[in-house]
């Protein structure tokens, strides 16, 4: 009886408010939102959110109990998995870390991708675990637009992807490959970077390819595909030149690596699960396209279009986008109030490639921009990025749900199995709510301060020597460099003038 009472209370506004007060991560987030939303929405923000969530919970429950024909949100349980079910499974975790240097430009100079491969149940330590790391000094890369803030990201994405591909190729019995972060990033943001040179690719592949032949084969395969299919579509005017100069346009190269990863996985039986797990994501696509879309559709059906406007005292909350814009809800926030620990949301195809289209690009050694069109890399073409399927998994009451992403081409069961394992691995860190293997590889890939400090000292030394030798003649440039080297501290050079 009391259990029923407890269950029923979940569906009331008071019950939701009590829950929010017990869960600091939700409470804090709502408090932050309350300060940022419009003043008219600020009053009763908690109360109205609780009311909205209670209504959503009721709708979810009505569908589950057959009282509602169409779902608002389909929820699955993934919490029934035990370690005994996954004994003997080989799992590799991949993560990349950046090292920041304390010079005035704040440009990261070091990147390290770590991998942690473990076989559950194996008692022999030397056979149970293998760690790998792949360091990249960003200064060694010729390509990429170093002036862009996302330059380290494009290098890291490439390096992580190569790390994953390498793990898959060298582990024939790999059962699961788990990336820290999105399986595929929102690629439109990275369009327009200056292509990598062959030297850059050699630098990447020197760490990942098991042998020189493989590295050469990977390069050749890409350049062949680029020549025949990709570059003529991206830059029809200058495709030949791109091919002749053996340029590796970053998005084309990354999409090639993704396709290779998927193809390699498809060759295996059973097909290994390839998954990316995202913590503290700001995505709201699931809420906008799935959850609220259904809510608004239902409201329209029942002639309650003004439901939200009435709750919040507004007139402009007429679409999912408007609602999310005004109230600053995200997928993580809404689903943390809707999913119980051990539950995951229904899958949806994540739009990773929206906006991929025409843009500008600068080739290495050129000071001008030329046209490019990345539209051909959108899914449904042989040279495109793979489609990504995702869902949210709630691990514990004290953390936000994590987003799990898989390639939809690798089969329908991938997502559920990935979600189950994500939950299982994350249960070992209930306070963090994130798979413990990714936490391990995160620590392993972390670049220690002493290393970045040492590199920054070398850079400062080399710049200092150049200045002393008079190799930098331009007076303004000398001033800037002196500033770059010393500005992190209040140095005597910059003491206030009398």
């Amino acid at each position: 009886m009391s259990q029923n009472n407890g269950q029923n209370r979940r569906f009331t506004e008071e019950g939701v408010r009590e829950e929010i007060q017990r869960q600091p991560h939700i409470f804090t987030k709502l408090a932050e939102n309350a300060l940022t939303v419009a003043e008219s929405l600020r009053d009763n923000y908690f109360k109205n959110t609780a009311k909205f969530v209670a209504n959503l919970r009721q709708a979810v429950n009505q569908y589950e109990t057959g009282k509602r024909p169409e779902p608002i949100l389909e929820v699955k349980s993934v919490g029934d998995i035990e370690w005994s079910e996954v004994q003997g499974e080989v799992v590799t975790f991949i993560d990349g870390g950046l090292g920041q240097v304390q010079i005035s430009s704040q440009i990261p100079i070091l990147l390290r991708v770590g991998s942690y491969c473990v076989k559950t149940g194996e008692r022999n330590i030397s056979e149970r675990e293998q760690f790998g790391y792949y360091p990249v000094i960003l200064g060694d890369i010729e390509g990429g637009s170093k002036e862009r803030k996302d330059f380290p990201d494009i290098v890291r994405i490439t390096a992580e992807l190569l790390g994953g591909l390498s793990a898959l190729e060298r582990t024939p019995n790999l059962g699961l490959l788990m990336f820290h972060g999105p399986l595929v990033y929102l690629m439109n943001a990275y369009a327009g970077h200056t292509p990598f040179t062959e030297k850059d690719i050699d630098l990447f592949l020197s760490h990942y390819a098991q042998d020189g032949d493989l590295a050469q084969r990977v390069k050749d395969e890409f350049l062949e595909e680029a020549k025949i299919e990709i570059y003529p579509k991206i830059a029809p005017e200058r495709a030949d030149e791109w091919t002749d100069r053996k340029l590796f346009e970053p998005l084309s190269w990354i999409s090639f690596l993704y396709r290779r990863l998927v193809k390699e996985a498809q060759k295996r039986d059973p097909v290994p699960i390839i998954v990316g797990v995202v913590e503290r994501g700001q995505l709201r696509e699931f809420s906008e396209k799935i959850l609220l879309e259904r809510v608004f559709k239902g409201l329209r059906k029942n002639n309650k279009e003004n439901y939200f406007n009435e709750i919040y005292g507004r007139t402009d909350l007429k679409s999912p986008k408007a609602l999310l814009d005004r109230l600053a809800y995200t997928d993580g926030l809404l689903l943390s109030m809707l999913l119980s620990p051990g539950q995951c949301s229904e899958p949806w195809h994540i739009n990773k490639y929206g906006g991929l289209g025409k843009g500008k690009i600068t080739l290495p050694g050129e000071s001008f921009v030329s046209d490019a069109d990345w539209g051909c890399l959108r899914p449904s073409s042989p040279i495109s990025f793979p489609k990504v399927l995702g869902c949210y998994v709630n691990v514990s009451e004290t953390t936000e749900p994590v987003r799990v992403e898989v390639f939809s081409e690798l089969g329908s069961k991938q997502l559920e199995e990935a979600a189950r394992r994500t939950y299982l691995y994350a249960r070992l860190l209930p306070g963090y709510g994130f798979p413990v293997g990714l936490d391990i590889v995160d620590k392993y890939a972390h670049i220690p301060n002493w290393m970045t400090d040492a590199y920054s000292k070398i850079i400062r030394y080399q710049l200092g020597v150049s200045l002393q030798r008079g190799e930098i003649n331009d007076a303004e440039m000398r001033r800037i460099l002196v500033q770059a080297i010393y500005m992190t501290k209040r140095d005597w050079l910059f003491r206030p003038q009398a």
Partner: protein, 629 residues
């Protein structure tokens, strides 16, 4: 020159290869001239291991001249960390009873770091003779540390002692390298005192017997105060045949000062009243004169008179010894005699008063004659003892002294009981010699058995003997140096004295601890409760053998008092095995963890399996009963 270089090349290569084989770790982080950290491989090293780091140091101001040195260090503690194993995950594993091997947790990436204390530095070629100098410049990070050869370790552990082999006592092995003998400096032990501190069962008697046997092999005179019969087995050693004398502690009461005897009586009987104490000196001295003297026949006659006077026919038979029983009888006689005199004087006064009013009668004259003829017993006692001061004991004083004999007999009875037990336990047949210096003889061990006595009496006996020996040495009446071994030292020199006996004992020991070195009197203190020892006395000991110790109060006390004991070494104390010890102080070059070598002798109280002993006793009982039938 070139040929010589070529010959040296293979030798150098061999040395490098040898160092690689013996490699234990690499210096990491910040190093100082006192401490550094070592990244080590799994299980390559143990706490208290001694390691070496080779280095080159330039002479300040002389760039071309370099000195090749070996830095000696000791592993103080080892830190083991798996940075990739979150403690939160550990709690989850525990809550769900999950084996970490069944999960995706990482168990392989452990960091093992050894924190090493620099012991000193010597020339790399070992030409320093084992003497270690202070390191004045930190070792270079990324240097390799290695496990030195046993012979090299033995050399530095022994230090300068190898050139003075006559002082070396072979008492232990290095705990982590049993092939390395650890010799200690016997001179430091006998001249600057040694303390052996350990909890019960940790092996302190074992360690002390080993030290004593080694000193005995060098003919050093030793006097052992043995409260439990731990050292009786020394007499059974063939090499000590005829060199061990065992004494039971019969205290010649009349050789003590009156103050000492008062202390003994009060510690065994009741506290004396002020009137008893005020007359004690006169009574004690007169009793001594009464029974002693050149002429034994005179003593006998005196006792016969006393026996007749008191009407104790058995006095001659059982108490004809200068002990407290005799003293009690003597005091009783004095009291009786004083009372009688007072009565007589009272009668005389009465008669004189009545005579003033009447004429003298013949009968009365006869009566007067009778009184004059009666002997005054007090005068007799004074005559026999030759001690005039007893004349001052009047009727009132006699009344006050009436209870004293009983008190003396209580104490006498306790002493007699303790003597009987002491004789039985120590298996000793000789009482303590009156002349204490006889206890100290070249090549001999004198064991003073204190078993059976109360701790106060033990302390009294000890302080009397130790004080006499020390005085004899100070006055040069005793020519030989001596080591005094004090087992259960906390009973003799407690931190806080509760009785006069303890006060005396502490004062004597403190004096020896402070001045013994000048006069050749050394102390070997053994205790299982160091925290109850007098702090000053313990601090005067310059050498220590510290064994397993679990009591936190004892550990803290030891850490506080013993300057040479490091923090990390002190933390080892509760985890030491039986027979393992930390040697610290002047007896050794630097503090080391050792395994004490077993002594050759057996202790009286070597533990026997209780159930085996029971079965043996039962069988003996049956066979005795059968034989009676």
């Amino acid at each position: 020159m070139v040929a010589s270089e070529q010959r040296q090349q293979p030798k150098q290569n061999q040395e490098e290869a040898s160092i690689i084989n013996r490699y234990v770790g690499t210096l990491v982080g910040e190093s100082t001239s006192r401490e550094f950290r070592l990244a080590v491989a799994h299980e390559e090293i143990r706490e208290q291991d001694i390691i070496g780091v080779d280095a080159e140091l330039r002479q300040p101001g002389n760039q071309s001249s370099t000195e090749k040195i070996r830095i000696w260090a000791k592993v103080q503690r080892i830190e083991r960390l798996n940075p990739l194993f979150p403690s939160e995950a550990g709690h989850e594993l525990a809550a769900t009873r999950t084996n970490p091997f069944d999960t995706v947790l990482s168990l392989s990436r452990e960091m093992v770091t050894a924190v090493c204390q620099v012991l000193g530095v010597e020339p790399l070629d070992g030409s320093g003779g084992g003497k270690l100098d202070q390191l004045r410049y930190p070792p270079q990070p990324a240097s390799s540390a290695y496990r030195p050869d046993s012979s090299d370790i033995a050399r530095v552990v022994v230090g300068e002692l190898q050139e003075r082999k006559n002082r070396a006592l072979d008492v232990a092995w290095l705990a982590n390298r049993r092939e390395v003998d650890v010799n200690v400096d016997g001179h430091a032990i006998v001249s600057r005192h040694l303390a052996i501190l350990a909890m019960t069962g940790a092996g302190k008697s074992w360690a002390s017997r080993r030290v004593i046997e080694e000193l005995a092999a060098k003919n050093y005179p030793i006097v052992i105060f043995d409260p439990h019969g731990d050292y009786t087995g020394l007499a059974d050693l063939p090499e000590l045949n005829g060199r061990v004398d065992r004494y039971y502690a019969r205290l010649p009461i009349f050789e003590q000062s009156p103050e000492t005897v008062i202390t003994i009586i009060e510690s065994l009987g009741w506290k004396l009243a002020n009137t008893h104490i005020s007359k004690f000196d006169d009574l004690f001295k007169s009793a001594f004169r009464f029974i002693s003297g050149q002429d034994s026949g005179k003593s006998r006659r005196n006792l016969e008179w006393l026996s007749e006077y008191l009407g104790h026919s058995q006095l001659l038979e059982y108490r004809a010894e200068p002990n407290l029983y005799f003293f009690a009888d003597f005091v009783q006689a004095v009291v009786k005699a004083a009372r009688e005199r007072a009565e007589r004087q009272s009668e005389e006064a009465k008669r004189q008063r009545s005579a003033r009013g009447k004429s003298k009668s013949v009968e009365n004259q006869d009566g007067d004659d009778h009184l004059d003829q009666q002997e005054d017993a007090l005068d007799k006692i004074i005559e026999l003892s030759g001690y005039e001061d007893l004349q001052s004991i009047d009727k009132k004083t006699a009344g006050n002294l009436e209870g004293l004999p009983n008190n003396l007999r209580v104490a006498a009875k306790r002493i007699r009981q303790m003597e009987d037990i002491s004789k039985r336990i120590s298996k000793a047949t000789s009482p303590l010699p009156n002349e204490r210096s006889k206890l100290v003889q070249y090549g001999k061990i004198s064991i003073v058995a204190l078993s059976g006595y109360t701790s106060d009496f033990q302390a009294t006996i000890y302080s009397l003997i130790a004080s006499d020996i020390f005085s004899d040495r100070v006055q040069n009446n005793l020519k030989l140096p001596v080591l005094l071994v004090l087992e259960e030292a906390h009973n003799f020199i407690p931190g806080r004295a509760n009785t006069n006996a303890e006060q005396n004992s502490i004062a004597t020991t403190k004096q020896i601890a402070q001045e013994g070195r000048k006069f050749g009197v050394g102390l070997l203190l053994i205790s299982q409760r160091p925290s109850r020892l007098d702090e000053t006395t313990l601090a005067m000991c310059n050498s220590f053998v510290i064994m397993r110790m679990v009591n936190p109060a004892d550990q803290n006390f030891v850490r506080k008092v013993i300057e040479s004991l490091g923090e990390d070494e002190a933390k080892l104390l509760p985890d030491l095995d039986k027979g393992e010890a930390i040697l610290s102080g002047q007896l050794i070059n630097f503090p080391v963890l050792v395994k004490m070598k077993p002594p050759k002798s057996q202790g009286e109280r070597e533990e026997k399996d209780a159930f085996v002993a029971l079965e043996e006793a039962y069988r003996d009982n049956i066979s005795t009963s059968d034989s009676r039938k």
